[in-house]
């Protein structure tokens, strides 16, 4: 790590000497172990170790980014001195206070690769014992990222982040009918972030529920589906909706069309900031500082201190996620949302842990208030249009609500609606709260960053 830090400092000093108005260097060293067990076979056992340096240089408004794993002064010097002017738009960065910090997340329980493999094989054995589970794929891995960021403003930040990640795919079947669910677990920390017992309970519960949908579920006719006005959504559905239809469209680079050929545009634009997105019950927050969360960080990749951002406040669009480039355009300060998925890619505006703020109703009160409607518990298929206006969340597990109680499962419910209709329909919020994990994709080359998304159970009344 020390050699990498020295190289990063050398790069920034050289960039200053060569007349760059801004120079930034980010050194990263990471390693990880992973296992994939598919249908009982240990198909993959892997380990990786990598390190590299990224420099970002700004000269006369031109942004040039170079990354390499060739950690030699010659490679860095050649990149900086070989910089060739090109025609481009002008980029400026907001002024930010220089930060000096060391952040290290502790592993309360040390990672043990032998134990992880044993736990996964045991979990696979349990799943295999259920005859209705037809296909199963299990993956779990552990890694550690150490990074050092420094820039010509005087920032110097060292961060160490251990992370556990696991994904599971289960296909349940009976007769010719099947249903599939994918789940993800983990967090920032040590082995304590992978509670195999809890995962086993959840996978078995989800599998049994899918079997119930196959065995007892009903298919509603189109007119019956159209009549449904009250929809109770789970924290998982609230999470995906928050992420897709509020978090993404409030990323400043989309709003200003920088992602237009890749991750898309937004219904939020520079002229309608402050628009009404939802009912007064809707407050949506992005907070990277939640300890041990999958989207955790203390400083972003431009060296700005992370903080919670209230994207939507009581229904009104309130704050865009930004970085130093868009903070300058918006005449504000960066709110610390610049992230890259590794040293080799540019930092761009990203979400972290994004959620709908909870209310005070119990699950029973929510169901009672719904009266007649649908409870949608989890999804498999989802998508949204380029402007984040028209989304669909398929009810992998969904139930009828009749006379204030949850009844039989429905096989073919899909919540397909416009974003503003969805959020304006929020009538009552639960007092519970859950975050689900995800790897969010954006940019080109595609960068996947760890995030969470969630909220409480929430009642949507579309007829009001």
């Amino acid at each position: 790590m020390a050699d990498g830090q020295a190289l990063a400092e050398y790069a920034v000093a050289l960039a200053e000497r060569r007349g760059f108005g801004y120079g930034e260097a980010y050194f990263e060293q990471s390693s990880g172990t992973g296992y994939a067990i598919e249908q009982g076979r240990l198909n993959s056992s892997s380990y990786f170790e990598k390190s590299g340096l990224r420099i970002r240089l700004l000269k006369e408004g031109r942004m040039y980014v170079f990354s390499t794993n060739i950690l030699e002064k010659d490679a860095i010097r050649n990149a900086i001195e070989g910089f060739r002017r090109f025609e481009s738009s002008r980029t400026q960065l907001s002024r930010e206070s220089p930060q000096k910090a060391k952040v290290a997340v502790k592993e309360r329980k040390k990672f043990d690769k032998e134990r992880l493999l044993k736990d996964l094989l045991s979990l696979d054995k349990t799943l295999a014992s259920k005859r209705y589970i037809k296909f199963r794929s299990l993956y779990a891995g552990f890694g550690k990222d150490s990074s050092f960021m420094t820039n010509s403003d005087g920032s110097s930040i060292l961060q160490e982040t251990p992370r556990v990640d696991s994904t599971f795919s289960i296909i349940v079947g009976k007769g010719k009918e099947t249903r599939q669910r994918m789940s993800q677990f983990g967090g920032v920390g040590g082995y304590e972030m992978l509670n195999i017992q809890r995962i086993e309970e959840q996978l078995l519960g989800d599998s049994k529920a899918m079997l119930d949908v196959i065995e007892k579920g009903v298919r509603l006719s189109d007119p019956e589906l159209r009549k449904i006005e009250n929809v109770l959504i789970s924290p998982e559905i609230a999470g995906i909706a928050v992420h897709e239809s509020v978090g993404h469209p409030n990323e400043a680079d989309r709003v200003f069309m920088r992602e237009a050929a890749q991750a898309g545009t937004s219904y939020v634009n520079p002229d309608n900031l402050g628009l009404s997105i939802g009912s007064e019950h809707v407050t949506i927050i992005d907070d990277p500082t939640i300890p041990n969360s999958f989207g955790f960080y203390r400083y972003d990749d431009e060296g700005v201190k992370a903080r919670a951002k209230q994207i939507v406040s009581r229904g009104k669009q309130n704050e865009l996620l930004n970085n130093r480039e868009y903070a300058k355009i918006l005449k504000t300060k960066s709110n610390g949302s610049a992230r890259s998925d590794s040293y080799s890619n540019e930092p761009i505006v990203r979400m972290s842990n994004t959620y709908l703020k909870k209310g005070s109703a119990s699950f029973e009160e929510l169901v009672g208030e719904a009266g007649n409607g649908v409870y949608i518990k989890n999804f498999m298929e989802w998508n949204i249009d380029d402007t984040r206006t028209f989304s669909r969340y398929q009810g992998n597990e969904a139930y009828m609500i009749k006379n204030g109680s949850v009844e039989k499962p429905i096989k073919n419910y899909r919540l397909e609606t416009k974003t503003l209709d969805f959020w304006h329909a929020v009538a009552l919020l639960g007092k519970d709260f859950e975050l689900s994990l995800g790897n969010c994709g954006k940019g080109e080359p595609m960068q996947g960053v760890p995030v969470t998304m969630g909220g409480p159970h929430a009642l949507l009344c579309f007829g009001r």
Binding site: N43, F48, E49, M257, R258, Q262, M380, E381, T387, T389
Partner: protein
């Protein structure tokens, strides 16, 4: 000191593994970003890395070597030595393929392409931007990727090879009068980038009609242009990989069964030199090939490496990744051809021309049910004529429609194709490339935003 793939294999075998495979990569790649009709930034990467696969007593292990130097090789091998004894044997593992092999080495490698720099990339980008603006575009976004890489492969079973590849991928998204269109050119030949033509044709696609209108939920015939057709159908190659078959995909249990229209031929192309996702050899050194997956309406085979081929009593298809088989370029042909898109449009009484899709998601990979969202211009067709661009969401550039289908049903209902096959890719296709014509699919469910 940088080591070759052969040296890495020799070092690994000296440590007592049963087998070793090393793939060494050296690459330089630049990504230029276009936003608001200007070049926004350029990101350049320079990397030297390797992947190492080793096995011992049917236990298999995979690792990388960051910077191919002695210390990092020793460190990777040390981890492999420590890990292999604790692994469970993979009982169905049958080893890597026995070499040596000779390769045709027909790869296209243009020095002019490989010698890209910021100025050259910026010039290409502005040629496309200016052409689009001159053709009437309001705003342009996009990316230009240029890559130069060398891959070196060696195995403990006497396979060894080296190849070089340089290519460009120019993606342009044009906005015009509330509509948008996106097209991608991907090529190994510098003369085929043709940025001016891409700027003009993408703008033309966003200008197919000035009329705008709404449609209702229902069943429509759909013409998917090359990009969305490839993006949707290329899942066939991924699901034909034996690993996907074993873990439950829509081709599981379908071998020799009816899965497509009888006029469709789909193959995995690992060797055509003009295609980007091809190579002379796979990761274990077996020569690549064209593997027919679907022909005469039936699924003809799956994609294998040596080990899985032995397990299923067949031959390797040259699709070895270091862990499991991987697909190459997706190629689709259709015997029933119309001259062009206009000829396809004339075959439709009530339908939609879809120029691009994104966010394709499956509700169940085993069954193959999916939905996808037309991202750019979608044109309503009535009585063989384009009527209007669908705009369910007036204030945005979105179409506000969603397509729901099943991939096997889509393959069966792909009635004919235009004679306009091209190599292309999409933002969300990652490093997958495909060669497809525009296709006409009958009777597809469409839902709309109200």
């Amino acid at each position: 000191m940088a080591r070759s793939a052969e040296e890495i294999v020799k070092i690994a075998m000296g440590r007592g593994f049963d087998e070793a495979v090393a793939n060494v990569f050296t690459y330089r790649v630049s990504y230029l970003k276009i936003a608001n009709s200007a070049v926004d930034s350029i990101v350049t990467k320079l990397e030297n890395t390797a992947n190492l696969f080793v096995s011992g007593k049917k236990r298999v292990f995979f690792t990388n070597i960051d910077r191919v130097e002695d210390g990092n090789i020793a460190s990777a091998i040390k981890v492999a030595k420590e890990t292999i004894p604790m692994l469970k044997p993979k009982e169905d593992y049958n080893g890597i393929v026995e070499g040596p092999f000779s390769y045709e080495c027909k790869c296209i490698y243009q020095k002019k392409m490989a010698n890209f720099d910021n100025k050259m990339m910026s010039d290409i980008a502005y040629a496309a931007i200016n052409s689009a603006l001159e053709s009437g575009a309001d705003s342009i976004a996009g990316t230009l990727e240029m890559t130069d890489f060398t891959k070196e492969m060696a195995t403990s079973k006497d396979a060894a090879g080296t190849e070089k590849c340089a290519f460009a991928r120019l993606s342009l998204r044009v906005f015009r009068k509330g509509l948008s269109a996106q097209k991608v050119v991907a090529t190994k030949k510098i003369g085929e980038i043709k940025p001016e033509a891409l700027g003009r044709t993408t703008t033309e696609l966003a200008s197919l009609t000035n009329e705008k209108g709404k449609v209702s939920n229902g069943n429509y015939d759909i013409i998917y242009m090359q990009q969305p057709a490839g993006l949707l159908l290329a899942d066939v190659n991924d699901m034909a990989c034996i690993g996907s078959v074993e873990t439950g995909g829509f081709l599981t249990g379908k071998l020799h069964k009816e899965v497509a229209n009888k006029n469709i031929k789909i193959y995995d192309d690992g060797k055509s030199p003009e295609l980007i996702a091809t190579s002379d050899f796979d990761d274990e050194g077996y020569p690549t090939q064209k593997t027919t997956l679907i022909e005469g309406g039936k699924l003809r085979g799956y994609l294998h490496n040596h080990s899985t081929a032995v397990k299923y009593k067949t031959k390797s298809t040259g699709n070895a990744g270091l862990v499991l088989p991987e697909s190459n370029a997706f190629v689709m042909e259709h015997k029933k051809k119309a001259r062009d898109i206009d000829a396809l449009i004339r075959k439709i009484d009530r339908g939609i021309l879809v120029t691009n899709t994104w966010y394709t998601r499956y509700s169940d990979y085993l069954v193959g049910n999916f939905s996808t969202v037309p991202r750019d211009a979608a044109i309503y067709i009535e009585n063989g004529e384009p009527k209007f661009a669908i705009k369910q969401l007036g204030h945005t550039s979105g179409t506000g429609i969603r397509i729901s289908d099943n991939i096997i049903r889509m393959l069966k209902n792909t009635e004919c194709a235009a004679d306009d096959s091209m190599q292309t890719a999409s933002w969300d296709s990652g490093s997958n490339y495909y060669v497809t014509p525009s296709v006409l699919v009958r009777g597809v469910d469409v839902t709309v935003a109200h």
